[in-house]
């Protein structure tokens, strides 16, 4: 973006004489932009509805964060609510047990998911890429991508039917006289369940980006390595993986930026049977505490802290990528 320094709008007719220096001076900055507006009014009209929706539903709520500093009550409204300074943020330092529990659960899940979930698409992509038959590869891809398009409600329902107490696995075990294996509704296994679901749903989809990166690797590198006597594993280690490094780091940065959001819908759906201690994460705490519990101010404060920390995480991770000589999400 912004890579060209051409000032003439592309849409402007080429035949039009370029404004000379005196033209520019003629009007004030304001009248000039008015003239541009009247020239582009149709274009602006086409784009404005979309921009308005973004402003109303993405930016207007940002203003709504002001209630994080208020003693907000629904019947009073934002304009009437009294300001109470940072009192809503007190959960950050007064050792609020519900908040700490949610924070710990979130961090544990983030670490588990980054270590276990994140590399799976890479392995799958390498496997798929090593297939010679294009047809078979595409068939497998279409099957593996599918779960990504199912909603969490469907995924959770499917898992219940497979692993639940009356699900496939346990029916099979009972019929064969084996002891049952309870997975759903067991607090100790909750994080494992969440992680497995995340892998099932999105590992296949995650391969797309790696496969695209793999297709860009110069085949001559492989040929040269093979001529120099590198076997398949050595080529994987010395050619493929270094070529994927940039993409891997990019995705890791994006993951890091989202590290405080772990499977919100997924967890909300399954919180009931396992209880809050095992399942509460920051997002669900904001929901349960704010919308359900009525602690509007405190929950808005928590959401605000989370967003700000998320942005800093992305910027920080990006800096880190630059330190390692990678491009990162955006150039400096």
């Amino acid at each position: 973006m912004g890579q060209t320094s051409v000032t003439r709008p592309v849409g402007e007719a080429v035949t039009e004489t370029r404004p000379t220096e005196s033209d520019d001076v003629r009007g004030s900055k304001f009248t000039r932009s008015l003239r541009r507006l009247s020239r582009d009014k149709l274009l602006v009209g086409i784009g404005l509805p979309g921009a308005l929706v973004l402003i109303l539903f993405q930016y207007l709520p940002l203003l709504g964060n002001v209630i994080a500093f208020q003693d907000y009550q629904p019947y009073l409204g934002i304009t009437e609510a009294p300001f109470i300074g940072l009192q809503n943020f007190s959960f950050l330092w007064d050792g609020n047990p519900a908040f700490l529990n949610a924070l710990v659960n979130t961090l544990i899940l983030t670490i588990i998911q980054t270590v276990l979930v994140f590399p799976v698409p890479l392995f799958l992509a390498l496997l798929l890429n090593s297939l010679a038959g294009e047809r078979l590869k595409r068939l497998l891809q279409s099957i593996l991508y599918l779960p990504h398009f199912l909603s969490w409600v469907i995924v959770v329902a499917l898992f219940q039917q497979m692993l639940g107490n009356a699900g496939m696995l346990n029916t099979f075990l009972i019929q064969h006289g084996l002891p049952q294996f309870h997975v759903i509704g067991v607090p100790d296994l909750f994080k494992a369940l969440i992680t497995t679901q995340a892998i099932w749903k999105d590992a296949g989809w995650g391969t797309i980006i790696f496969l695209a990166a793999l297709s860009q690797v110069d085949q001559q590198l492989y040929e040269a390595a093979a001529v120099d006597g590198a076997g398949p594993w050595k080529r994987l280690w010395h050619v493929t993986l270094p070529q994927l490094k940039g993409m891997f780091i990019l995705l890791l940065i994006l993951r890091l930026g989202n590290s405080l959001s772990v499977g919100f819908e997924q967890i909300i759906l399954q919180q009931g049977p396992v209880g809050l201690e095992a399942s509460e994460v920051l997002d669900t705490w904001v929901y349960n505490n704010g919308i359900i519990g009525g602690n509007w101010g405190m929950s808005a404060a928590a959401g605000l802290v989370k967003s700000v920390v998320g942005v800093f995480l992305v910027i920080g991770a990006n800096k880190l990528a630059h330190v390692f000589g990678e491009r990162g999400v955006y150039e400096k």
């Binding site: 849409g11 602006v44 404005l48 929706v53 029916t171 398949p232 819908e265 929950s299 959401g303």
Partner: protein, 311 residues
Amino acid sequence: MTTLEAAEAQSGGRRKSGKRPPWMESPNPLTQIVKAIALGISVLLVIIPFWSVLATSLASQQRINESAGGMIMWTNKPSFAAYKAVLGGGVVTRAMVISILITVVGTLLSLATTAGLAYWLSRKSFGSKPVLMLVLGAVLFSPGLIPSYLVVKQFGLLDSWWSLILPVMVNAFNVIVMRAFFQELPQELFESAAIDGASSLTILTKIVLPLSKAVLAVIGLFYAVAYWNAFFNALLYIQTTDKWPMALVLRTFVVNQTTIGGDQIQASEVIPPQLPLQMAILVIAIVPILIVYPFLQRHFAKGVMIGAVKG
């Protein structure tokens, strides 16, 4: 190589013949077997749940009893009683109509506004720079749950289907993707059309959109899937049971296993067993996605790569 070409190469082109290049050694049988097993298991893990849900939805009471009330993999005499009951009227039928309506109206509105905004931003025009910053900002920051809820409430959209459309109507990331696509179109076309006196609206409808069918298809289908799947917003904003979309019905009757009685469905005399009913609801929620999936799938790589590489 441009991103489009890269995506093209990814979705086909390379190694079509399936032949190994001359320098590659013939594969080690052991590795081949391990690979086949790994891929086979991954694919089965995806397919088995679907298959089992379908089979169970077609099971009769007798067949369910045989399996001790659990899921089955095969039924000899498929019975469509569950589907008849669920689709004959009642809460599930209504939810399906609502979900289809929201998906169709939402997708059309989303495509129109997203394409319009992307088109504006793809031209060097009045206001396109600051608005582009606005869109990029929307990708980076999420407004937060509580403030979003308050805004929807303030607009009086609570318990209205519009609350499921308007807040998610324009996805900033999709705008960026579409803008990148529009920018890769040959700009000379626009210039010559402009010389011939075409307005920006004419250029959009006569040149840009016809050339962008692929990206419109992908993004349209992404939106459609999102509308169809929307669960949390429905949970948050829709209070009346009569207004439930599919996702809430799924949660209540399939995930939370609330008993489906005569009030909820159209049963002639006997209510079919619960499990096939639940599975039929699940199948009905999945099928629309399976229908659009083949169309969607052809354009995946393209749609994803444009956005990913051209931020």
